[in-house]
């Protein structure tokens, strides 16, 4: 089934859909412009507006359900933005409303959690201002009805990410990580921009409603170019190979930021872009979609391998995020059969990964902001709520039967397997590695010896932080089954992204599923042997070449430095030298030559206005004469 037509819409909550964006934007404006005056109540305003936006999203969702499935793509025109090029408008359809619910829902929980987590920070108000700004930009990204408005949201979330990674900007490492994230993302944005240029010059429009129906008429080369350039953009935002390097550094930001932006929502924008553009620019079996699947598989393995070697709890989770988004990307590259699984995994991942990150934050909160898991151990009895909710998130991500991840990841693996056995088995191996690194993380943190620093007094976090954990862990348990069984999400998304002629049936314990479970169990068992039963050394052992490879993020940074940064520095120095000596030197020399000696030049320079005017006219006369002479020859 092809995606349905977009129906222009006014009235009702959907007609007022701009409120979704405007409410958090208002919060950002008040909190960032209001200054210290708003310190006392700023965080409450931030939370209230995030929740209000969630309420609007729910109401719009309800209104959308009231329409027949084929009429659930509603275009809401707002205003003329750049005449002749792009208008500001929203597309509220099953795909965008799913994102809006995730962003505002999980976003609200993380706002609430942050009240507690950031309570000791003197700049808490600014933090909430940035969070609100992020929510507004992210909603514009997913709700926009054209690529230019999408791009505003796209770079807007990049800005929020920059501001929040560098929130503790007085730390040089945080400032550097923030800048790196922005610059690497700009490399991706460059691709997205060029894709938009090609669309405009090919189709004369950037609106989804114009571009998608016309895409079929374009040449295969044009479509592939657009697809690959969109993918470059997606790789930047979603930290996929080869633009993955910024995400691990991004963990310099406060933990709620890592949960909201760098796990649950922003980093999945690349998946959104591919799925949104899928029917037009990533048709099944096209070159572009093949490259998407390759990028997805490569990243899901790379992220998982990085995750195995990190002792920093946040960086281990960041590797895991890369890996899980790799799964989504893989599914998004499989065409119409994969979209619903990509989005389902995106949604459940939003819950269980936010759950895990906030859990990690809760641990850090109780451990004086320690992030080294070698200094954790045996925390389960002291942080019971954090432990139980974390355990649920853990079981969900490794695909423990009947929890969320089990359904959504299995859907991706099965679909990939049907498409290509290589892709399928690589995804299975990735699941096995996930079983290992996530178990390692849980054992090192909550089990085994207490390896704490002398001044650590671990304690459970306040209820403003544990309640969001509880809500998220409920999603981690049940959401996957709800979305996948009887193809609920696939049927719901059908009008927006298309759906396969034959709906897949979910088989509990299929052969592939059993193989996956066996590998996961193997990974977990190996982790138990190394980190559960055995003692965890306080200093990381040197490890083999492979361990070093994983610890150094597969040499991604080293590669970037050798290929881009160092040559770039040389080029810059060379250009500055050339500019000072080369061009300027030639021009100064010429000037001196024309003026005769430099002494005469100086005399001319220090004269009065009258002599300047005189020199203009004398010079002009000479040149005019020369021109006439040349002209008559």
């Amino acid at each position: 089934m092809e995606p349905a037509e977009i129906i222009s819409h006014t009235g009702g909550v959907i007609g007022a859909g701009w409120l979704l964006i405007a409410l958090p934007l208002l919060g950002a404006a008040v909190l960032l412009l209001g200054g210290r005056r708003t310190d006392k109540w700023g965080h409450f305003l931030g939370v209230a507006l995030a929740v209000a936006s969630f309420v609007v999203a729910v109401l719009a969702f309800v209104q959308l359900l009231g329409f027949a499935p084929g009429e659930r793509r509603r275009g809401v025109a707002l205003y003329e933005f750049i005449p002749g090029v792009a208008n500001m408008g929203l597309l509220i359809d099953p795909l965008s409303i799913s994102f809006a619910l995730l962003i505002t829902g999980v976003g609200s929980l993380i706002h609430i959690y942050s009240i507690g987590y950031m309570s000791h920070d003197t700049d808490r108000r600014r933090f909430f201002g940035y969070l609100n700004l992020f929510v507004a930009a992210m909603l514009l990204l997913v709700l926009a009805d054209n690529y230019v408005a999408l791009f505003i949201g796209w770079e807007g979330v990049g800005l929020a990410s920059y501001l929040l990674i560098g929130f503790w900007q007085y730390k040089p490492s945080a400032a550097t990580a923030a800048k790196k994230a922005f610059v690497v993302n700009r490399v991706g944005d460059f691709g997205l921009l060029i894709a938009i240029f090609i669309m405009f010059s090919t189709f004369g429009s950037v609106a989804f409603a114009d571009v998608f129906p016309k895409a079929g008429g374009a040449s295969a080369g044009t479509l592939t170019a657009i697809g690959l350039l969109l993918l470059l953009g997606a790789c930047g935002k979603s930290a996929q190979l080869p633009l993955q390097s910024w995400l691990l550094d991004a963990m310099e930001g406060p933990t709620p930021v890592s949960a909201l932006i760098h796990a649950a929502t922003m980093v999945t924008a690349g998946v959104y872009l591919v799925v949104r553009s899928g029917a037009a620019f990533f048709p099944a079996d096209s070159t572009a979609s093949l490259v998407v699947t390759i990028v997805g598989v490569a990243t899901l393995l790379a992220g998982a391998i990085i995750g195995t070697a990190k002792d920093d709890i946040k960086k281990a989770l960041a590797g895991s995020t890369m890996s899980q988004i790799g799964y989504m990307m893989l599914a998004a590259g499989l065409g119409v059969a994969g979209y619903a699984f990509a989005i389902a995994h995106l949604i459940t991942h939003g819950f269980f990964k936010a759950n895990l990150f906030l859990g990690a934050g809760s641990v850090m909160h109780g451990m004086n902001d320690e992030v080294d898991m070698r200094k954790y151990g045996g925390l389960r009895s002291l942080m019971p709520i954090t432990f139980v909710t974390f355990l649920i998130g853990y079981l969900a991500i490794i695909g423990f039967p009947l929890l969320s991840g089990y359904f959504t990841k299995d859907g991706i693996i099965e679909t990939a397997m049907e498409h290509s056995a290589i892709l399928g088995w690589l995804a299975v191996i990735g699941a096995g590695i996930t079983g290992f690194y996530m178990s390692r993380l849980v054992f090192m943190t909550f089990f085994g010896e207490r390896r704490w620093a002398a001044d650590a007094h671990p304690h459970e976090s306040p209820s403003v932080m544990t309640w969001p954990l509880i809500v998220l862990s409920i999603g981690s348990i049940g959401l996957g089954g709800y979305l996948i069984l009887s193809n609920r999400l696939m049927v719901f998304l059908g009008p927006a992204v298309g759906q396969p002629e034959e709906l897949p049936a979910f088989h509990f314990f299929s052969p592939v599923g059993l193989a996956t479970l066996a590998l996961v169990a193997l990974g977990a068992a190996y982790a138990w042997l190394k980190y559960g039963r055995a003692e965890v050394p306080a200093v990381a052992p040197r490890g083999s070449f492979l361990t070093t490879f994983a610890r150094r993020d597969l040499y991604g940074d080293a590669l970037n430095e050798a290929l881009f940064m160092r040559p770039g520095q040389w080029l810059t120095r060379l250009a500055v030298f050339f500019d000072n000596r080369g061009i300027d030197g030639v021009v100064n020399g010429l000037a001196a030559g024309i003026g005769g000696t430099s002494g005469r030049l100086r005399r001319i320079q220090t004269g009065y206005v009258r002599s300047y005017a005189l020199s203009i006219f004398i010079g002009a006369a000479v040149l005019a004469g020369a021109w006439f002479v040349v002209g008559t020859l």
Partner: protein, 499 residues
């Protein structure tokens, strides 16, 4: 109403008045009032402009030197109007920002402010002139107040910078004067009026020579690579306020001249030169950005970013599509606000610390968060963050250029990545990290400084989301220009569904 003459008259009379006010404080206040009156009048004029009416509005034409067909002729089209608006908005902001700037100068404070108003009159005149000779006169005369503002009130190497600025400009001016006279002679209409000279030069070879005379003058003024080396010196040595007007308005006369005079008077020659100009523009975009990354002086860094930005404007002008040319025109305005804000905030920063070197700063965000925040917003506008006004113009320039010249547009778009590097790296080194010792106790922006930046930032954000009012004025004028050059926009390959 002779709006344009009134605008210039008020500025000149204001300048005369200010020059005779003995009390410095009073002189400053008077300057501020005069510039605000000019702004109010300009806005009143702009409101009456009808975008889809005659091309030239508020026209006044009087004989000046009848023997040679020289007129005092002024009028505005959409392009000139938005540039006059830009000038009128920037002057009061610069006046307020320059409150203490002239105190260390070689000449009196009141002279500085009188020069500012003289300069304002000339900026209005140069954009309004519809007589080519009159345009030339303003083009050259503008140099004089700016020369004194740099040479008498600038930094340590002000004399060198001022003379370099003057010599470069004079050299360009000379070439243009030759071309102006030759244009008059060859056209044989006994008139310097722009409308009389349109289409007057038919011979392709003559067109090429005359084009070169105008173009080199404009390329130096803009400045386009490789004619740019005077700008970093001038901008770094000029007082911040003068730097704003120099880079924000005076340099735009170059790109404005390309659009108005080069393209329309010499259409065939312009097309002949397009490959070279686009190549120079693209080199300038990338080169300016790379050299900016390597700068150690804040003001020089901003100057080099402008060289990169002028490459975008020139590329947009010569791509000859409606989107590119409208984008280039809007770029001239937005760049004035964005770079203006950058220079002014850099000026506030340098005034506090007494150094232009990036390495002398660090951690300012902690002690002066408002200053740092405004610097970040201005910086983000310079790297064309969507939602801020320069994005719209850069996007239009790139989209419009891509429609005709895909490869140059793609190379130029790498400037988007480089811009992130030069801005954010400068921001990191000055504002982030541990607070440098010399920066400890630095005061945040005071009320006057905040009021300097509030209108600029409001415009940058407002025009970022609502550029339509500006584009509605610019688009018809640009279309007129492109019609005179007889080019049409390339049609999209797939205009209808199912093709």
């Amino acid at each position: 109403m002779p709006w344009l003459s009134i605008l210039m008259g008020v500025s000149v009379l204001g300048a005369l008045g200010v020059a005779f006010i003995k009390d410095d404080r009073l002189a400053k206040q008077a300057t501020l009032v005069v510039s605000l009156v000019v702004l109010a009048l300009t806005v009143a004029m702009a409101v009456q402009f009808s975008p889809n009416g005659d091309r030239f509005q508020f026209a006044e034409t009087y004989d000046w030197i009848p023997a040679f067909g020289v007129h005092y002729a002024v009028a505005v089209d959409g392009v000139a109007l938005v540039l006059i608006l830009l000038s009128a908005v920037l002057v009061p902001i610069v006046v307020l920002a320059s409150w203490h700037e002239a105190e260390a100068g070689k000449r009196s404070v009141r002279t500085y402010f009188a020069l500012l108003l003289v300069l304002e009159a000339m900026m209005i005149g140069v954009f309004a002139a519809t007589d080519v000779f009159l345009f030339y006169v303003f083009f050259e005369a503008m140099l004089i107040p700016m020369y004194f503002m740099i040479g008498s009130y600038g930094g340590a190497q002000r004399s060198y910078a001022a003379v370099k600025f003057l010599l470069y400009s004079l050299f360009g001016g000379l070439l243009m004067l030759v071309a102006v006279i030759a244009l008059y002679t060859v056209a044989g209409k006994n008139s310097f009026l722009f409308t009389d000279l349109l289409g007057a030069i038919k011979d392709p070879t003559t067109q090429k020579w005359l084009f070169l005379g105008f173009f080199i003058a404009f390329a130096i003024k803009a400045p386009l690579w490789p004619f740019h080396t005077w700008l970093p010196d001038a901008a770094a040595q000029a007082p911040a306020g003068a730097a704003v007007l120099l880079v924000g308005v005076l340099d735009k006369v170059g790109t404005y001249g390309m659009l108005r005079f080069c393209l329309e008077l010499f259409p065939e020659a312009s097309k002949w030169a397009t490959p070279v100009v686009i190549a120079l523009a693209v080199i300038g975009i990338v080169y300016g950005a790379i050299v900016a990354i390597g700068q150690t002086d804040i003001k020089r860094l901003i100057a080099y970013t402008s060289i990169s930005h002028f490459g975008f404007i020139a590329m947009g002008v010569f791509a000859m599509t409606t989107n590119a040319a409208s984008g280039a025109t809007l770029y001239m305005v937005n760049h004035g606000f964005s770079t203006g804000a950058l220079f002014l905030i850099a000026g506030f920063l340098i005034y506090r610390r007494g150094s232009q070197f990036i390495d002398d700063y660090g951690g300012v965000q902690k002690v002066a968060p408002i200053l740092a925040g405004t610097f970040l917003v201005a910086g983000l506008s310079s790297l064309s963050l969507p939602g801020l006004s320069p994005f719209v113009s850069e996007f239009l320039v790139l989209t419009g250029t891509f429609q005709r010249y895909a490869v140059p547009a793609v190379i130029a778009a790498t400037g988007v990545i480089l811009a992130a590097v030069y801005i954010l790296w400068m921001y990191q080194r000055t504002m982030n990290g541990p607070t440098a010792e010399a920066v400890q106790g630095m005061k945040d922006l005071n009320h006057r400084e905040r009021w300097v930046l509030i209108p600029l930032i409001a415009l940058i954000i407002g025009l970022g989301f609502f550029p339509k009012p500006m584009l509605d004025v610019i688009n018809p004028a640009v279309k007129e220009t492109l019609t005179n050059v007889s080019v049409t926009d390339p049609a999209p390959a797939i205009a209808k569904e199912g093709q």
